[in-house]
Amino acid sequence: MGQGVLTKPILPRLRHFLAFGAPGITVYACFVLAPIVVSFGYSLTNYNPFSPPAEYVGLRNYRLLFQDPEFLLSLRVTTILTAIVVVVPNVLGLGIALLLDRRGWFYNALRTVFFTPVVLSTVVVSIIWIRLMADDGLINQALRGAGVDDPPGWLSDPAYALYSLGIIMSWQMLGFCVVVYLAGLQGVPHDLREAAAIDGAGPVARFRHITWPMLAPALTINTVVLLISAFKIYDHVQVITKGGPGAGTTATVAYNVIQTGFTANRQGYASAMAIVMLVIIAVACAVALRLLQRREVQL
């Protein structure tokens, strides 16, 4: 089709674009691309609606950012949380998918159970877990009943709160991984496994050499989706811990962007934070995709 370019006049192509491409692209440009550019512009100023004249400050916000203990802590918090949310649902999801990889209503029903939290709102999930993890909630009631005198303060102890958030988010995302892995498993040809079994391969060997390689695309999808959703975690933090207990123990970068921008009103600074966040997630996604897809190709 490339050679056709010369013979085809430009007008019909433009018309095609205007009729089919332009509406979607325009909205996308107005509400996503333009704001990113504006955000970058803000990040070079000390814009604060509370002290109106915004001045150009160059890269000062970015320099300050990497000396700001609050921001560095939020990077750490986000990294830990992302690591938990990428690893835990992936691993458990694979295990459960292997367990559920059978036909019949029973397994279908269980799959439904695991997927349900995925369609729930994060606010609903957060409130359910606040009740479960409160000191007088079900978990600590059960622990006390089992003779643990001093059960942990899941959400109130800075040593636990971050991991509790990780558990909650993993619980919500687990079903997604289960379903994606199940779909992947259904793509593994049955005869292949059977042949291997006849050749005397044990279940572990069969998994390593046949099933696992075939699940590569599923692993890619799960990892990238978890990575993106973990990195922008805001809702759970806002509803459950508000960044606490104490100063910033569970404040993610996404949470700090909103806090700094909309509550502390330092919009220039918050914009710099947002841009750094965007760069990090872009790099992380690119690296993850490259690594995982290279693996897919090799197989």
């Binding site: 439904t112 409130i127 695309p217 999808i221 909103i258 947002a274 841009i275």
Partner: protein
């Protein structure tokens, strides 16, 4: 496969894990039908005898918080998803079928990059953009933002599916004298039904459940959506968990019914991606 050693082990293990996993959902449901005073001390007890007081309290709240939220959520979700389906199907079609390579490809990449952009990055300036168009704190503004933000996902699904449709079909229709517009709506779009289902389902659920965007863009003037309504109701009712759980239950019901009815399509939507890669 021949002879698993203990045939009951797999279903038993699966069931045990599922039950443990289900506990939070069970507690949430049980608490809807329990008296508020029972929820604190006995979170796991079954609601015997069940009471509808909590549900009734939410439905008859004098400020109609639930009904206003529900209406807003329905309007925002329906409009956003309808617009998204139309715009992203057309855009997806354009990108796959457009003559020339460089531009459509660049556009595609630009759109795919949008899949990973966190809303926090664009929310600060978006309030300015919307203000300029006098769309801040309006349903229209939120819908347009949703369309812009989720169009990459729609295009991703539609264009992926479009590649599996033979271009000859369209060429044949064009030879018969149909314009591009008619070819698309009468020939192509009906064939895209599975992709449309995926887009409707996923975007419908995401937009329904969205929290931060309506919190900031819709503001308090237009009333809340179901998620921000729930969030607001914990301010007043925290001590009365019965009402909070009832509100959550009612707000989730539509999405839950939707999910249970269309389960197969949910799975298919994910499966398409998982096997094709």
């Amino acid at each position: 496969m021949t002879g698993e050693r203990a045939p009951w082990a797999r279903p038993a293990a699966a069931l045990a894990i599922a039950v443990a996993f289900f506990v939070p959902l069970y507690v949430a449901c049980a608490n809807v039908f329990k008296r508020g005073s029972e929820i604190g001390p006995h979170p796991a007890a079954p609601p015997v005898p069940p009471t509808l007081d909590n549900v009734q309290a939410v439905l008859t709240r004098p400020d109609r918080l639930f009904w206003v939220s529900l209406t807003n959520s329905v309007v925002v979700t329906a409009l956003s998803v309808a617009l998204l389906t139309v715009l992203s199907a057309m855009l997806g079609h354009y990108l796959v079928r457009a003559r020339g390579r460089r531009w459509p490809r660049a556009l595609m990449l630009l759109l795919l990059a949008g899949l990973m952009i966190p809303p926090q990055v664009i929310l600060l300036p978006i309030t300015r953009v919307l203000e300029t168009f006098h769309l801040m704190t309006t349903v229209q503004g939120l819908v347009l933002f949703n369309v812009g933000y989720y169009v990459p996902f729609g295009v991703f699904v539609f264009s992926g599916f479009m590649r599996t449709i033979p271009v000859e079909l369209e060429q044949a229709a064009a030879i018969d004298g149909a314009g591009r517009w008619r070819v698309f709506w009468q020939v192509v779009f009906p064939l895209l039904r599975p992709a449309t289902a995926s887009v409707l389902i996923f975007l419908g659920v995401w937009i329904w459940n969205d929290f931060l965007n309506p919190l900031i863009i819709l503001g308090p003037g237009q009333g809340t959506t179901v998620t921000t309504g729930i969030y607001r109701s914990i301010g007043q009712y925290q001590a009365d968990f019965g009402s909070v759980f009832a509100m959550m239950f009612l707000a989730t019901l539509p999405v839950l019914v939707f999910y249970l009815l269309l389960q197969r399509h949910f799975v298919k939507g994910l499966t398409g991606g998982a096997t094709k890669g």
